[in-house]
Each structure stands twice: as structure tokens, then as C-alpha cells.
């Protein structure tokens, strides 16, 4: 946008200089650290101490660790961990949708006078510490007198989840797949509901009235108007929820701790901070990032598109 007068020209240099400290920070503490992961993953091993040696020059990269870990993922000991991670996240997303869609839909369309209080209740978990919310479940699932554990056992829930392939049939809930899945859903469902609510709330009520005026039943209106219009919201909510779930390890450790429920995040945390083979952890970070690239790009595209249309 040319403004004509020289004195009124947009001081592009000034604005560019504003971004310097922030981008400099992110280059030093986000991009370079990510490169350091690659330098370790494709690095060497100290012949005497057996510790990892980073290689900063890509021309000298060594792919031994990467090939080893990758073949473990494709058909070795890590394959189960990857399959498990994807199935836990998949089941958790389905549950988030099954619980979250009705809640978001009710909030957006019908809540009426209770909307304010309900919205506050749905936002509330955002401001409770994640670890405290998990602590609450550790206490409730305690094998010695935990209220939720006792109630579930009285309802024969162990047999139900064993039949579904999500439990071992035992009355101790720690260490069972269903407990980890429940923890993931409990932890991340607010991230699903809020963006979905925002998307449903934006649907123009006149479309629904038009459908009803033209004779569509409530069910047909929902299936042919509301649901299709909310697909972008469902996708955004799923991506926002799936990304942290894929990288989660603490929900798993605190509610299970069993090797039988370990996810990719648990392996990464173990290799990077508590083992002598950080290069294996670094390789896993690269593989995980590559797998999540599609989800991350999708979210970045919709965010920048929204930014541009707002400006």
C-alpha cells in the first residue's frame, strides 16, 4: 500500500528490527536444539566412554543408530510400542469425539441461560494443573480403597475391559491399557471440546432454520447441515488433541508405569535422560516428528489462513 509521501512511508526496517530478538531467540533455542537432535541421532559414539558424540557437519553423519532403531520399529521390539501408541491415541480420539461432540453441541446450541456457567466449567480444567488432575485419579484408582477402583470392580468392569481387549481382567487398575486411555481422554478432552464448541458456535443459525423450513426433520438437519459444517472444527480439534497425546509419557508413567503400556514418549524419555544411548532417543524424536509432520502442517496452514483472513 503506497502512501505517497516519503515521511509517511511504512518504516519496514523498524518493524523488521522488532522481530529480531524474538526470532533470534527461537533460532537459538528452538531451531538449533532441533538440529542438535539430528546431530546426536546421526552422530558417533565415543570409543572409550561409550557416550554419544554429536556430529554437527551433515557430511559426516553416520546412519548406524538410525538404521538400527528404524529396523526395530519396522519389525522388532519397538514395533509394539508404535502400534500401541497409535491405537491408544486412536481410541482416545474416538472417545473424545463421542463425549466431546455432544457437550460442544449442547453448549453451542441449547445451553441458553446455563451457557455461561457450563462454559466456565468446561474451561476450568485448563487452569488446573495437569499433574494434579492425574494425581486425583491416582488416588481414586488406588488398589487399597480408591473410590473409583472399588466402584469399577463392584460393577465387574475388569471383565468388560478384558473382553474389549483393553484390560487384563485384574482388579488393580494401574498398568492396564484402559487406565492409560482414560487418563489421556481425561487429560486432553478440554482441548477437543473448546475448539469444537467455537466451530459449532460459528455456524449460522439461518442455515438450520432454512433446513427446517424446507421440511427436514431435526435429525436430518443435524446430519445434512450441522455435521458437515462442523467437519473443519472436528479436524482442528482432533489435531490439537492428537499432537500432545502422541508425545505424552507422563500420563502413562503416573497411571501405569508398566512396560506393557509403554508408548513412544516413554521410550524417548528413557533413552534421552536415563540411558547411555541418547542417540536412540534422538532417532525416535526424529521418527515421531516425521510422523506428526502432517498433523503439524495441517494446523499451521489453518492457523496462518485464519491470520491472513483476519488481517
Amino acid at each position: 500500500m503506497a502512501r505517497g509521501e516519503g515521511s509517511r512511508a511504512d518504516p519496514q526496517g523498524l518493524w523488521a528490527s522488532f522481530t529480531l530478538p524474538g526470532t533470534g531467540w527461537l533460532i537459538a533455542l528452538f531451531l538449533i536444539p532441533f538440529y542438535a537432535i539430528a546431530a546426536i541421532a546421526f552422530g558417533g559414539v565415543d570409543p572409550i566412554f561409550g557416550s554419544a558424540l554429536p556430529r554437527w557437519n551433515p557430511l559426516t553423519w553416520n546412519f548406524t543408530a538410525f538404521n538400527d532403531v528404524f529396523s526395530e520399529v519396522v519389525n522388532g521390539s519397538l514395533r509394539n510400542v508404535f502400534v500401541r501408541t497409535f491405537s491408544y491415541v486412536g481410541i482416545s480420539l474416538v472417545l473424545c469425539f463421542a463425549i466431546g461432540y455432544p457437550v460442544a453441541y449442547y453448549l453451542a446450541r441449547y445451553a441458553g441461560r446455563t451457557k455461561g456457567i457450563l462454559l466456565a466449567c468446561v474451561v476450568l480444567p485448563f487452569w488446573m494443573s495437569y499433574l494434579m488432575r492425574m494425581l486425583a485419579w491416582v488416588n481414586l484408582l488406588n488398589p487399597e480403597g480408591g473410590w473409583a477402583a472399588d466402584a469399577l470392580n463392584a460393577l465387574h468392569a475388569p471383565r468388560l475391559f478384558e473382553a474389549l481387549g483393553l484390560g487384563n481382567g485384574g482388579e488393580v487398575w494401574f498398568g492396564q491399557p484402559i487406565t492409560v486411555i482414560m487418563g489421556l481422554v481425561y487429560g486432553y478432552i478440554p482441548f477437543f471440546i473448546l475448539p469444537l464448541y467455537a466451530a459449532l458456535d460459528r455456524i449460522d443459525g439461518r442455515y438450520l432454520e432454512a433446513a427446517r423450513d424446507l421440511g427436514a426433520s431435526a435429525k436430518a438437519t443435524f446430519l445434512n447441515v450441522t455435521l458437515p459444517l462442523s467437519v473443519p472444527g472436528i479436524l482442528a480439534a482432533s489435531v490439537i488433541t492428537a499432537l500432545p497425546m502422541f508425545g505424552d509419557y507422563y500420563t502413562n508413567t503416573i497411571l501405569s508405569g508398566s512396560p506393557g503400556t509403554e508408548m513412544i514418549g516413554n521410550q524417548i524419555e528413557l533413552y534421552i535422560t536415563r540411558s547411555r544411548q541418547p542417540q536412540n532417543g534422538a532417532v525416535l524424536v526424529l521418527i515421531l516428528s516425521a510422523l506428526l509432520l502432517v498433523l503439524m502442517s495441517y494446523y499451521l496452514v489453518i492457523t496462518t489462513r485464519a491470520q491472513r483472513s483476519a488481517e
Binding site: F18, L29, P33, P54, L135, N139, I189, I272, E311
Partner: protein, 287 residues
């Protein structure tokens, strides 16, 4: 064709919604209640007492390690705010105005941390501090640098949203009346930005207090333990209800800050007779 009242109120939906609300909040309320248990158990109720708050040697008031965890969490949050808010505000203004090929790259870098799983960022920072930035040992310094990095995008998103809402009109008016670009910024835009800056402070503080992954990867042991790290490492062990009590302390602090932020922002909106609501200001970053 007979049809029931087309705008009939649903029955199942409110039931699901209220059950969800109960399920999402009641476990935490029970955890708070158990901080007042008179026994050592965090699961079996043995009567009311404040021993885990005040009197017992392992209570929040008397256990040095619990207090250290609270102090570490608060310090980390406060120092992070001091660094990240100016950094983020400058970056947001620059990104909103600067138009060039390079600015797209800068914009992308400022958004990528939002979609990066915390474990990736935590692992990357852990490795870079061990292998490259060896002048920064793991511990409080590294934790602060990590928290600034992962909250910077939040500040940028919040401030940019506000810049869009303000629009170019006020600044153009100031420039027409003879103000230089930096004067228009300081005298016109900055005062209009303060609700976003305030919301950033509140959200950065709450996010930093809540964070476990980055703080844990960059911690150097007991001396830099924060409350979430403490909960993680002792929840499954034999920790007493004092753990519930210290979690409750952090909950009260976070809720207090959020509540205060909500009050201040909604009062400011009312004075302006503005649109929207303060919940949006405080929750909008996550959308």
C-alpha cells in the same frame, strides 16, 4: 405428516454435558478434600484434620522440600513473564507490520512451537544444553530459557489477535496528525494493547506453573524440583496427603491469578463498552 415440536428441548444432551462437567471436576475436588484427611492415606477417608497443612512434620507448612518446590515453581513463572512478554510483544508487532519474503519465515518460526509436542522440545533443549550450550548447566537457568521458548508463541498469538482487533485506523490518524511511526506506536498502539499484554502475563504464568515436561527435562535434581515434578515423582509412592495439599496451594494460586485477570479484563471491557467477553481473552489462545 405430524411432527413433534420442532424446537423441542433435547433431553440426552444436557445429561451428557452435566455428567461430563461432574466427571471433569469432581475428582479434583475429592483430591482437595483428601488434603484434609486425618490419616496418611490419599484414598481412604479417616476424618477431618489440618495436619497435612499445618501441624505434621511433613505438612506444607513444615516440609522444606515442599516449600522449595512451590518457590521454584513461582520463581520460574515470574522470571519467565519478565523475559517473554517484552520479547513476544515486540515480535508480534513486528510480524503484524513487516511485509517481506523473510517475514513469512519469521512468522512460521513463531508458530511452530505451538504445534510441537512438548517432549520434542524438551528432548531437544536437554540435548542442546548438554552438548552445545555447555555454559548453561541444567537447572534453573535452563528451565527459564525453556519456558520462555515454549510460551513465546502464546504471547505472539494473543497480541497479534489484539492488533487485528485494533485495526489500522488509530495509528493512521496519529500519523496524519504528524506522529512518527515509533511515536504512534508508543502513544497510541501500546496503550490499546494493554489488555492483550495483561492476558499474556496471566496465561504465561499459569502455563509455566502447570508445565511438567520442559521443567522436568531441564531440572538438575531436587534443588530445581517444581510442584508438577514433585507430584510426578511421588504420586505413586507412599506420599502423604501433604502432596494433595501442595497441589491445592498451586491450584489456589493459579485460580487466583486467572480470577484476578478475568475481573480486571472484564472491568476494562465494560468501561470501553466493548464487545466480546473476558473468557475469550483468557481462553482464546488455545483455539
Amino acid at each position: 405428516m405430524s411432527r413433534a415440536d420442532p424446537w423441542a428441548k433435547p433431553r440426552v444432551l444436557p445429561l451428557i454435558t452435566w455428567l461430563y462437567v461432574v466427571w471433569s471436576i469432581v475428582p479434583v475436588l475429592i483430591a482437595i478434600a483428601f488434603s484434609f484427611n486425618s490419616g496418611r492415606s490419599r484414598s481412604t477417608w479417616q476424618g477431618f484434620s489440618v495436619r497435612w497443612w499445618w501441624t505434621d512434620a511433613g505438612s506444607v507448612a513444615k516440609d522444606d522440600s515442599l516449600q522449595l518446590a512451590v518457590r521454584n515453581s513461582l520463581l520460574l513463572g515470574l522470571v519467565t513473564i519478565v523475559i517473554v512478554v517484552p520479547l513476544g510483544v515486540l515480535l508480534a508487532i513486528g510480524l503484524a507490520r513487516w511485509r517481506s519474503r523473510l517475514s513469512h519465515g519469521a512468522n512460521l518460526i513463531s508458530l511452530i512451537p505451538l504445534v510441537t509436542p512438548e517432549i520434542v522440545m524438551g528432548a531437544a533443549l536437554f540435548i542442546v544444553f548438554k552438548e552445545l550450550y555447555t555454559g548453561v548447566p541444567l537447572g534453573r537457568g535452563a528451565q527459564i530459557l525453556g519456558h520462555v521458548t515454549f510460551t513465546l508463541s502464546f504471547v505472539v498469538v494473543i497480541v497479534r489477535g489484539r492488533l487485528v482487533a485494533i485495526g489500522p485506523v488509530y495509528e493512521e490518524a496519529a500519523r496524519d496528525l504528524g506522529a512518527k511511526a515509533h511515536q504512534a506506536l508508543r502513544l497510541v498502539i501500546l496503550p490499546l494493547l494493554w489488555p492483550a499484554i495483561f492476558a499474556s502475563v496471566v496465561i504465561v504464568f499459569a502455563t509455566s506453573l502447570d508445565d511438567f515436561v520442559i521443567a522436568s527435562f531441564l531440572s538438575s535434581g531436587a534443588g530445581t524440583e517444581t510442584v508438577p515434578i514433585r507430584i510426578y515423582s511421588s504420586a505413586r509412592g507412599g506420599a502423604t496427603p501433604a502432596l494433595n495439599a501442595v497441589a491445592t496451594v498451586m491450584l489456589i494460586i493459579t485460580m487466583g491469578v486467572i480470577g484476578l485477570g478475568f475481573l480486571v479484563l472484564s472491568r476494562a471491557r465494560k468501561r470501553r463498552g466493548g464487545e466480546g467477553d473476558a473468557v475469550g481473552d483468557l481462553a482464546g489462545f488455545s483455539l
